[in-house]
Symmetry: C2
Subunit: 472 residues, 2 copies
C-alpha cells in the first residue's frame, strides 16, 4: 500500500487526505493544531459523501488514516508528502528543512498558491523531489492540480508526480515556467479585483456578480475554457479573425486594470497557432455541437439539483407546461418531449433506462391528472412503483421527439396499474411499459389506501378509462 | 401571437431569433447582409437541436420566421425589437432614429456589449422604451441577459422587459447603474488580458489556460459564482475572515493589472453584508453540500459527453476498475457503486428509472465477461435489450452503496436472458430485474446470431451458470 504524508490539515490538507485515502492510500497526518482531527474529519465527511458519486464503479477500500505526534512519524514510509501549511515563506522553508533532515526520498508537493518552487527549495541540499502541486477547493472533487517544478526539480520527480496525481483522479497541469501564483490564481485575482471595484463603486452586489458569472460564462468555462470558447465565437474565419474583432476593445477604458500587451502580429500568430494545435482537429460546427451537448448535459445536471441555471429552466418549464383539461374517455397524453444528448449510450441510441424514466414521468403526469400530484405528495402520501415491464420495440435517437399515451388499467384501493405507449413524432410505436404502483404513506413508507375523498374521485375517472380497448 | 423584430442577423441576432421562435413568437428579421438567412439558419439548426433538450416538456410550436426587405416591414406589429448591429455607436444611433421614425411602441433592447443605454438614446425624442439587453453566446442556451436601463428608460419598460425575457427562458440581470461594458464583460476582459499576458510571456499556451479554467474554477463558476464560492472557503468564520485572509494577496505583484481598491472597513463590511443577504440563510455545511451536489451533477453530465472533467473521470474509472477473473460457477458480481445525488427524485429516493440503469450497466458487465464488450461492439455487433421486468423491493437513497449479482438464465443463438439482484451494502434485496436481450448487427440494426467462435466460448461459460439455482 502507498502512503501519503499530509503536513497541515486545514480545508486544503484535508482535501488532499481525502483524495489519497479514498483512492486506497494510507494517510499519515501531521498538524500541531489540536483542532486538526475535527477539521479533517469534516472535510472527510464531505468527501466520503461526494467523491464516490463521480464514479460508476466502487472506489478502492480506504487505506487508513493516522494522526501523528511528530513530523518524523508522519514521514515514516511516505511515498508522497503534501505540504499545506500557512502561506508564510519562512514557515514553509522551515518545514522543508525538517523534511530534508529525515532523509526521506518521497516526492514532495506544496499546496502553495503564491510561492515559486525555487523559493521553497532555497537552502535545501537535495531539492530534486520538491515541486508545487497547487489544488483547487473542494480538492476531493475538482481535478485540477498546477504542477510546477523549478530547474532544481528532477524531471523524473515531475513524471512520477504526474503518474501519482492521475492515479488519484487528478489532472496535473504541468507549468513549465515558474511564476508567482502560477496560472489559475492569476486569472482569479484579475476577476476578484474587478469584482471588488464593481462593489466598491456601487455598480453591483455580490449576488448580482455571482449571477452574472453562473448564468453565463461560468457555464461555458465548466466545459471549455476561454480560448476554445472564443475560437468558436470567431467562427470559420478563425482565431485571428476573433482577435482582430475583439482585440481593439482592449484599448477601451472598460476595466480598472489597464496594462495591456501589444497585439503584435507575433502575439496574434502565437495565439492562433496554439489554438489550432488545441482545437484545429475539429471544425467550428463540430465544436459548436460539442459545446452545446456539454452545456445541455451540465444544465440538466443542475436541474436535478434545482440549482443555478437548472432552477431557471424548471421555473420556465412550469410556465410552458399548461396542459389542457384531461379527457379520461381517451388514452391520456402524458409526455411530449425531445431526447436530450445525455440520454444516449455507446450503442448510439437512447439508453434502455431512459425508457423507464419516460414512463416514470408519464406516471407522474397520470397521478397529477388523478389529483395525486405534487400538492398531494406534500401532504405525506404518494405512489411508489412496485413493478414495471418494458418492451423495447424500436430504437430512439438523440434529438428525436417522442410522445407517450398512458392508460389506467386498474384502480382498486391502494393498487394502480398503468399502461404506457411511447411513440415517435410520426406515430411509430417505440416501446410499451406496464407499471404497477402502490399508494404509500411517506411517514411509515408502508402501503395504505388513499383518502376516501380522493379515491372516489379517482374511481370516477377510472370508469371512463375502463371502457377503452385493453392492450394485448 | 407575440412578434419580435430582429435587427442584425449574425450569431447574436440569430441566437435571439431562435430564443423567440422556439418559444412560440413570430420573428421578423431585418438585415441587409445577403448572407443573413444562411447565418441565421445555421444558428437555428443548432438551437432547434439543443434548446428543446433542456426541457422535459415540449416547447410551444414555432411562431414563424420571416426575412423582411425593410426595417419598417420588420417592425410591423412588433412587441419587442432586438438590435444586434455591429458595435459602432454612430451606426446604432442611426438605427434607433429609424426605429423611432416608424412610431413603434415596442420595447427595444440592444445587444451591445460595450455601450451604455444613454449613449444609444442620444438624439431620440421618445427614449422611454430603450434599454440594453446584452446576452451571452450561445444565446439559445445560456440564460443570462444583462438588462441595463438609463435614467431615460421608463421603469414600466424595464418591468415589461423582465417578464418577456423570463417568458423565453432567460434571466434578466437588472443592472441599476449604467457603466461601459456592463458587468460580465468587465470580468471577462480582466481574464482575457491576463490570459494574453500569460501567452505573451511564454508562461502557458491557450490549451493550458483553458485546462486551468475548465478543470478548476470554471466548474465552480457554472453553479455558484465568485463570492458564494469564497464565502464557503471562509468557513464558519465568514466572509470578513475570508477577505482578511485573502485580501493582502491583492497587494502582491501577481497580475499585470495593478490598480486595486483599498480594502477599507467600509468596503469589507459592504461585501460581508451583501454576502449575508445573498447566502446567509444557509449554513456553510449546507452550502458545501449544495456545491458538492451541483459539482457532482455537472461532472456526471460531462461524463455522458466524455468531455472536459467528465473525460478525466472516465479515464480514472478505467484505472480503478480492474475486475478479478470471472468465476462462472457463481452468480456474477457485476456492479458495486454509490447512488449519486442526481439519481434521486421528489420522493426522496432513487428514481425507479435508475434501477433500470443499474441493470443496464450490469448487463454491460456480463457482456464484457462473455467476450462481447466494447472491443466486440467496435466490430459492429452488439446486444440490445428487448424486454426488462423490474421488481422494486426496497427504497434506495442518495450515497447508499449497492452491489448487483447477475446470472445468465438463457443463452441460445441470438437470445440471451439475464437475471439481476440489486442488494444494499448490508445484503438486503433492493430490486430484481429479468432482462431479455437479442444479438444485433449494428449496420443493419437487425438481430442475428453471434459469430460461431464467440458463441461457442459463451456457451461454455453458460454451462456453469446453468447449474446455479434458478430464481423464482
Amino acid at each position: 500500500m502507498n502512503t501519503a504524508c499530509i503536513i497541515g490539515g486545514g480545508v486544503i490538507g484535508g482535501g488532499w487526505a481525502a483524495r489519497f485515502l479514498l483512492n486506497g492510500w494510507r494517510v499519515q497526518v501531521f498538524d500541531p493544531d489540536p483542532e486538526a482531527p475535527r477539521k479533517i474529519g469534516e472535510v472527510l465527511d464531505n468527501a466520503r459523501y461526494a467523491l464516490p458519486m463521480l464514479y460508476d464503479v466502487a472506489l478502492p477500500a480506504e487505506g487508513g488514516l493516522v494522526f501523528c505526534e511528530t513530523l518524523e512519524e508522519a514521514l515514516n514510509g511516505a511515498d508522497w508528502v503534501q505540504e499545506s501549511v500557512p502561506e508564510r515563506l519562512e514557515l514553509k522553508q522551515k518545514v522543508y528543512a525538517q523534511i530534508e533532515a529525515t532523509g526521506t526520498d518521497a516526492l514532495i508537493g506544496s499546496s502553495t498558491s503564491g510561492f515559486k518552487p525555487s523559493e521553497l527549495q532555497e537552502g535545501m541540499e537535495k531539492p530534486d523531489n520538491v515541486f508545487v502541486t497547487h489544488p483547487f477547493n473542494p480538492v476531493y472533487l475538482l481535478p485540477l492540480v498546477e504542477l510546477v517544478p523549478s530547474d532544481k526539480t528532477a524531471p523524473s520527480a515531475v513524471e512520477g508526480a504526474k503518474d501519482i496525481l492521475r492515479s488519484i483522479g487528478m489532472h496535473p497541469l504541468h507549468i513549465r515556467k515558474e511564476i508567482d501564483a502560477h496560472i489559475a490564481d492569476r486569472l482569479l485575482e484579475a476577476v476578484w479585483r474587478e469584482g471588488l471595484w464593481l462593489i466598491n463603486d456601487g455598480i453591483a452586489t455580490t449576488e448580482e456578480i455571482d449571477d452574472a458569472i453562473r448564468y453565463g460564462f461560468g457555464l461555458r468555462w465548466g466545459q471549455m475554457g476561454l480560448f476554445e470558447t472564443y475560437r468558436i465565437a470567431g467562427g470559420e474565419a478563425g482565431m485571428k479573425h476573433f482577435i482582430a474583432q475583439f482585440g481593439p476593445a482592449l484599448e477601451w477604458p472598460w476595466t480598472k486594470l489597464m496594462d495591456v500587451p501589444d497585439l503584435t502580429d507575433d502575439l496574434v500568430n502565437k495565439i492562433a497557432d496554439q489554438s489550432d494545435a488545441q482545437s484545429g482537429q475539429h471544425s467550428i460546427r463540430a465544436l459548436e455541437r460539442m459545446r452545446d451537448n456539454n452545456l445541455v448535459a451540465m444544465m440538466r445536471g443542475l436541474k436535478t439539483q434545482n440549482a443555478a441555471a437548472g432552477a431557471l429552466i424548471k421555473t420556465h418549464e412550469a410556465m410552458i407546461n399548461k396542459p389542457d383539461a384531461t379527457d379520461f374517455c381517451k388514452p391520456l397524453k402524458t409526455i411530449s418531449r425531445t431526447i436530450p444528448a445525455d440520454w444516449v449510450d455507446y450503442n448510439g441510441h437512447m439508453n434502455e433506462s431512459r425508457y423507464g424514466q419516460v414512463f416514470s414521468d408519464a406516471a407522474d403526469t397520470v397521478l397529477d391528472m388523478l389529483g395525486a400530484g405534487p400538492d398531494y405528495v406534500a401532504t405525506g402520501k404518494s405512489y411508489f412503483t412496485v413493478n414495471i415491464d418494458i418492451n423495447f420495440v424500436l430504437e430512439t435517437h438523440v434529438a428525436d421527439q417522442i410522445v407517450v399515451e398512458s392508460q389506467i388499467l386498474l384502480l382498486d384501493g391502494k393498487k394502480l396499474k398503468l399502461f404506457h405507449r411511447m411513440q415517435s413524432a410520426s406515430g411509430a410505436l417505440l416501446a410499451t411499459g406496464e407499471q404497477f404502483l402502490l399508494h404509500v404513506d411517506l411517514t411509515t413508507r408502508k402501503s395504505c389506501p388513499p383518502e376516501d375523498a380522493l379515491l372516489s374521485e379517482m374511481v370516477k375517472k377510472f370508469e371512463h378509462q375502463k371502457a377503452l380497448p385493453q392492450p394485448d
